[in-house]
Symmetry: C2
Subunit: 405 residues, 2 copies
């Protein structure tokens, strides 16, 4: 009988631990095929240093259940890129460790870069006839993986963004004076998360009135004109911008601010495009301006976790385990949407070599209003993903998350 | 029979509308004593421009119920200070409007400045024998009003801060590399909300490892030494700072950054102390640093609304109405804590003249570790205030808040 090992990699999400839950609980069911269940600490990088844990020993049922609602990466994560050259010494080093632990099943929960790891390991395993099945479980708030309807982690982040933008709109509207509030949202190259700001609108004309994604070029003069036009019908404007908006030469808008000056310590100032646009509006229009960077909470908050997202993340994990047990390797679990009656997701498998290092952007046809708005198609696509609130067990008034000390 | 008018003033909170709910539903019960129930739009400032609404007409039961969980200020708010001179023409102007609407009961939900309005109006009314009873309902996330155990709005903001700091700690700890994350929290003069960061700790030694309030002086060299010491036992540090921290000369730490340079448009750069400390740590220690400004969401989010806070806010509103009906005027509703068996709050009345324009700070004896930590007394004080989660009605996956178009 072989053992299983699972790791997490890349940035945290609200539901990466839900996928971990899916892998573990499915593995625990197959006591006839899987002996030990190990977790890599800090992904492949920690594993190379000999860091792993026996999950059956450290995971009582209540901790396993708490994983379902715990944001972040319970096992710790890493940003470690395996060498392109499969003849590098790191590969035999890794597979020696796998052999020592009698690993037959390897699961890696992550985004683009993590799928690159899955691709390299599975190609190495094939070349060297290593008896280990290697499966990737997708996760990223960016929703930029190809060959899957969406990625686990996006739904909860989108819900956090939509709910936060809605509340920022409420906050911005309490005074009767003209104001612009710029909300900077994560997404360097793909605007999926920023587009989710549109879900905050409760009625036609409601905030956010302007939404800018990195899929199109951003023109500063046009932006000022857009804001002035929006003031014709509304006093308090909320504007969503992706951190990765750029001009037509490809220069990021945040780079304009960062060129401006140095901080107290003589270093280049590093701020985002939200701060830059705040200063731009302040210098050009005589109105109150504020910028809000949603920052890390958009990827690590379980306040606004989507039950749909959390369930799908767990499903992806358990589907990966059953696929590996059937002999699959070198695959990433994907989501296939069935909209024929109502929203339904089934899991599939795609070749991980095709997925890694590619990026799925928001279709240009879903970006409307000359790059200032988001179409109904996006709303129809995203709305099912933010549905439902998981019951969060509380302790002393705060969520009772699972953690390793 | 007289009419009632209610207004909201100052910055939004998660539960200011809960107090509005309390006032309205109590007023609706006394059909034998109160005829119409009006709402000022944008507080006293909007009312002076003739802006008010008939709440019985615009408030169906479902909207009234939705008020209980809706953050922000449903009626709109203002920052309007009445003249010190009670002989100013604005006073007869206001009282003429009250007389025109046959107002017998005036309620103002707000913080320090709003209590100043309540004080001035009630003194004017007494001097001029105006037959109108004037009551203040406290609210502020800052918790800085005197003569009350705490203020409605603080509990929910404290819960938001504690839950966010906890999640930021989870996010910061996923990688194995040394890092400092600085969380900047609202509170210019009083550190109550920043102190609530301590509630995020799940075990001894957990984040946040350092907490700095504006009640004590902040020394930059000592801060660097504190961080270095904390690294001896932990790799990923979360530090909470109040926006109002200052050095021993009284100079705000954020002013250091703002002196640094100008933005792209030649204006003084305006950032907070979190950004400054991020740059300070970066320049002195060779570690990853990030700063997170919790920003407006800490005062306007219902994600982490405290049921205790929401219920108490409503209770303060309804208590104010019954007090006015009994003949009280010139008072602010206060909270009196009974800890004899378990946490219990009853409402009282305090002289509004004594409350306004004063500030309650965190007791120095509750600040420990040479100004870097918070004592158990604070935890015992604050923990009951963040208990319970109200059921939030959802629509399309997002909270279904009450709103005026």
């Amino acid at each position: 009988m072989k053992n299983l090992i699972v790791g997490q990699s890349g940035g945290p999400t609200a539901v990466i631990n839900s996928s971990l839950y899916g892998v573990i609980q499915e593995a625990f069911l197959h006591t006839d095929e899987i002996e030990n269940v190990y977790g890599m600490i800090n992904g492949i990088e920690g594993f190379l240093k000999g860091k792993y844990t026996d999950l059956r020993a450290e995971m009582p049922p209540e901790t396993l259940q708490a994983l379902r609602i715990t944001p972040g990466a319970y096992l710790g994560s890493c940003r470690y890129k395996l060498p392109e050259d499969l003849n590098d010494t790191v590969y035999p080093e890794l597979f020696n460790r796998f052999r020592e632990l009698n690993i037959g099943y390897f699961f890696y929960i992550g985004g683009n870069d993590s799928m690159d790891t899955v691709s390299k390991l599975s190609r190495y395993a094939t070349e060297h006839r290593e008896e280990i099945r290697i499966i990737g479980i997708p996760k990223t708030i960016d929703n930029d993986l190809i060959n899957t309807d969406h990625t686990p982690g996006f739904g909860s982040a989108a819900k956090y963004v939509a709910a936060s933008v809605c509340e920022i709109g409420i906050d911005a509207s309490v005074y009767d004076t003209k104001s612009v509030t710029i909300v900077e949202i994560m997404g360097r190259h793909a605007g999926w998360l920023t587009a989710a700001g549109v879900l905050a609108r409760k009625f036609k004309g409601d905030n956010p009135v302007l939404i800018y994604l990195p899929e199109t070029d951003f023109d500063q003069e046009q932006f000022i004109a857009d804001v002035q036009k929006a003031f014709q019908s509304k006093n308090n404007l909320v504007v969503c911008v992706s951190e990765g908006i750029h001009d037509k030469t490809g220069k990021f808008i945040c780079e304009y601010e960062n060129e401006a000056g140095t901080d107290t310590f003589g270093h280049k100032m590093l701020t985002g495009c939200g701060k830059y646009l705040e200063n731009l509006v302040k210098s050009r229009l005589n109105v109150k301006v504020r910028s809000v960077e949603l920052n890390v909470n958009q990827r690590c908050s379980a306040f606004a976790q989507s039950l749909t997202d959390s369930r799908e993340a767990a499903k992806a994990g358990s589907f990966g385990v059953t696929a590996a047990l059937k002999g699959e390797t070198g695959k990433m679990v994907s989501f296939i949407r069935d909209n024929s009656v109502s929203y339904d997701i089934s899991c599939g498998l795609v070749d991980v070599d095709e997925v890694c290092n590619k990026e799925k952007c928001v279709p240009l046809s879903w970006i409307t209003g000359n790059g200032t708005d988001i179409s109904q198609e996006f709303i129809d696509y995203a709305l099912p993903l933010i549905q439902g609130n998981p019951a969060i067990p509380m302790k002393s008034g705060l969520p009772n998350y699972a953690y390793r000390k």
